[in-house]
Symmetry: C2
Subunit: 195 residues, 2 copies
DNA sequence: AAATTCACTTGCCAAATGGCAAGAAATCAA
DNA sequence: TTGATTTCTTGCCATTTGGCAAGTGAATTT
């Protein structure tokens, strides 16, 4: 079982600290290789989130608003840690679903194991904090753009900064992610073609 | 110098762990009592965020969008930790400002000191993670509401869940926080009075 | 207390976005 | 390959929200 991609990712995401051989081994043991077929769920609403390092594939998080409409809250591309912080760290049932959009490969673990690593491997603790902070920062930037930008600007921004999303995700999912209807987004696309 | 409110807050926010006397002392030493007069800045854009436990008062975070409009990104009520996670944890200049809306009292410290505490006091490490997770969760819920809710619903939601914000904040700041113009919000208020 | 500034409201109209339903296109299943 | 299902687009019109500028009222300064 080759966990090198996982080790490399962790190593690359801690500044100034070389992960010791021992730590590498301890970490490796706690993760298991896992695949998700297209449309399989990494996380279902009501369950507690796990921790998944996505080596290859594309995932989508979504929930439902008051009127029962599906709302896409996030897209995950490869070389990212995929988890729902609220559920994972608070051990609470998730309100979100996370689903494989394409075939997904990576390494999976649970809160208990992550917690063990947090207590026993300082390097991993740093790594965990960095992942959390990174999620937060990314999320904040994304949402700041939502405020005080028009639907068209939001669409253009996503096109420029996250082109790979358009490669994998359905347009209606991108639309709800951007806080607009698929109808509106379709019109925006039409307008932008003209230019 | 009485740091009991700080200790109590930390104690109350770690599950299942009693903070030792020694830890209490170590933590206390790292924080200094601090006051912010009305309109004073806890954080200015371009500076690196500190860490402030707000014992009493009300604060507001804001930044500017592409067109130069001020956008309120957050309100902080008492008994909360006030900091900008992106800047604080990544040691990067903040894009946000945090300003005292009323006279504010609390305990202040820097990244280096928090880091020292993270490494030397496990209880504080847990506390720090909980604060970060809590910020993230709160932020996520807030922004989820922004998507797929009308301006009127967003206003009503905030009224129901965070009434104290209306006690202290200016209406135009609440409006930009809710992602609408002050003009629109004024009209919404008028409509809601009728009911 | 008067002058000045700032926050908020309101009327008028324009622009952006949504809702619905029908049709076209793409995808999936047999 | 064909039929069925799903996704995406489009036309028509309604609704929501914004922009501007004037007006009111409250707070602050001198």
């Amino acid at each position: 079982m080759n966990k090198q991609p996982l080790i490399n990712f962790i190593q690359n995401n801690i500044q100034n600290i070389k992960v010791s051989e021992e730590a590498v081994l301890t970490i490796s043991e706690m993760f298991e290789e896992r695949e998700f077929a297209k449309n399989d769920f990494l996380l279902k609403a009501g369950k507690v989130s796990g921790y998944f390092f996505l080596v290859d594939g594309f995932m989508r998080a979504f929930t439902f608003d008051n009127e029962g409409n599906e709302v896409t809250t996030y897209f995950y591309t490869k070389n990212r840690v995929v988890f729902e912080p609220a559920s994972f760290f608070m051990h609470q049932p998730s309100t979100e679903n996370i689903q494989a959009v394409t075939l997904c490969k990576g390494y999976y673990t649970t809160f208990d194991k992550v917690n063990t690593l947090f207590h026993s491997v300082p390097e991993f603790r740093e790594f965990g904090r960095l992942m959390l902070v990174r999620e937060f920062v990314a999320y904040k930037q994304q949402t700041l753009a939502m405020i005080n930008k028009s639907a068209e600007e939001r669409y253009a921004d996503l096109m420029n900064t996250n082109k790979e999303i358009f490669q994998y995700a359905q347009l209606k999912h991108i639309a709800s992610f951007l806080g607009m209807t698929d109808t509106s987004m379709s019109r925006i696309r039409k307008e932008m073609l003209k230019k």
